[in-house]
């Protein structure tokens, strides 16, 4: 039993699909004030990069969903895909908190080896489908399901809570401290839920903007507690990228061994 457990753990640790790039949505403003009849434009960059908010890979913005303060889904008014980044524009007409989110598409990945060959063969199919197409002398087939959420919150005038509620699928981040109220030197709490229930052991990395101009990444590392919560007090105002991830054995082992669920949240810590 113990042996089998060790084997499983080591299999889970081999993560040939681990994305080395962080993906993110970076809005031009997080909190805006406006008169009731005024429409406020927000423009956002979408990219994937190793350095925080240094645009690098053109992740598409065409699948971005905008959740309005009343909870209704909407779409950006326009988007553009360039060589290093994508851009989308949204007009805020309602008061309250909006959620910008890239469409969440769970994806299967499988890998196997072929006798006599060094490299690992990658497949974008689940284990069953990969087994059907891989050569006869292939071995060591492993599969994973990855679910990534790329999201941010923007508030016009008074913050509201409707778009903060989790949907109940895979890993989700519920801001206990409202994103519009995260301020330097003040404690803030976030909660992680998995399939709608608080989840312990989520690895959370928080990185401040401007890592290109620092010699060290200065990453804050946290792990969610029994209630799925992490507490943080950010030492400086600015824009931050949060990356959370958790691996779990997949419910259907014939399709994937593990499910990797991750979140990329962009947020602002305000001046005191």
């Amino acid at each position: 039993m113990k042996l089998r457990f060790v084997a499983l753990v080591s299999a889970l640790c081999i993560s040939p699909f681990a994305s080395s790039h962080d993906r993110w949505i970076l809005p031009s403003h997080y909190n805006v004030s406006a008169e009731s009849n005024e429409a406020v434009w927000i423009t956002s960059d979408v990219s994937a990069s190793n350095q925080v908010f240094m645009v690098d890979k053109p992740v598409t913005a065409s699948d971005v969903k905008v959740y309005l303060p009343d909870g209704k889904p909407s779409s950006p008014s326009s988007s553009y895909t360039g060589g290093r980044k994508s851009v989308f524009d949204v007009q805020l007409l309602q008061d309250g908190t909006y959620k910008f989110e890239k469409e969440v598409t769970p994806r299967y990945f499988s890998v196997y080896k072929v006798k006599g060959k060094e490299e690992v063969v990658r497949s974008r199919l689940d284990k069953k489908a990969t087994a059907a197409v891989m050569p006869k002398d292939a071995y060591d087939l492993k599969g994973s399901l990855t679910v990534a959420r790329v999201e941010t919150y923007v508030t016009r005038n008074k913050p509201t809570d409707k778009v903060l509620a989790p949907k109940g699928e895979y890993l989700e981040l519920v801001p206990i401290t409202h994103p519009a109220d995260i301020v330097e030197n003040e404690p803030a709490t976030l909660q992680f839920v998995y399939d709608g229930k608080p989840v312990e052991g989520v690895s959370v990395a928080i990185m401040k903007d401007g890592s290109l101009y620092r010699n060290k990444p200065e990453e804050i590392s946290l792990t969610s507690d029994k209630e799925g919560k992490v507490a943080m007090t950010l030492p400086a105002a600015g824009r931050y990228l949060l990356h959370a991830s958790i691996e779990r054995p997949s419910p259907d082992k014939s399709l994937a061994d593990k499910t990797v669920s991750e979140i990329f949240l962009t947020f602002e810590a305000g001046l005191e």
């Binding site: 004030s33 406006a34 009731s36 005024e38 005038n157």
Partner: protein, 170 residues
């Protein structure tokens, strides 16, 4: 209604003549003369929070009459008080002031007009200038401890500020 207002006004007049019976706070605010760079009159908010950081009363809000676009830049005041109710903002906002001395009087009543309970509070002065800086200064005081005077040292955007609580003790 008019009669009621007049009666109240007379009452207030009467009470104010009995000096010790009118506890009040005076914030003597100086906006310094700034000659460097492009000068715009600053946005100024003066308000009071309780010990939990909840806003009790906005004493002054000086902004440009240019809509609400820049209110968010008076950052702490916006987060604590401004964004809650925009019609309230319209009601209390007045025009920006040039450099000079300003006396802000407060009768120690909250936004609903109720006298504050004796406890610890903090008065905040936030001064933000377009193309300039931002300074947030504060003074904590305890209503249960009685009268006090305090002098807050000058910052870039604020001159020396005198704060006086009077009428609490005889």
């Amino acid at each position: 209604m008019r009669h009621l207002i007049r009666t109240t006004a007379i009452g207030a007049l009467f009470v104010s003549s009995v000096v010790f019976a009118t506890p009040r706070m005076t914030v003597d605010l100086t906006l310094p003369e700034i000659t460097e760079g492009q000068y715009h009159r600053p946005y100024v908010a003066v308000w009071v929070e309780d010990a939990k950081g909840q806003t009790v009363k906005t004493l002054s809000l000086w902004v440009w009459d240019e809509g609400h676009k820049w209110l968010k830049d008076i950052r702490r005041w916006w987060r604590k008080a401004g964004r809650e109710d925009m019609s309230f903002v319209d009601g209390i906002a007045s025009a920006t002031r040039p450099a000079g001395h300003y006396k802000i009087d407060w009768d120690l009543k909250d936004e609903a007009g109720k006298p504050l309970v004796p406890a610890s509070y903090t008065v905040f002065i936030e001064v933000v200038r377009e193309h300039g800086g931002r300074d947030l200064v504060r003074q904590t005081f305890d209503l249960a401890a009685g009268d006090f005077t305090a002098q807050l040292p000058a910052t870039t955007e604020t001159g020396v500020i005198d704060i006086r609580l009077s009428g609490m003790t005889r």
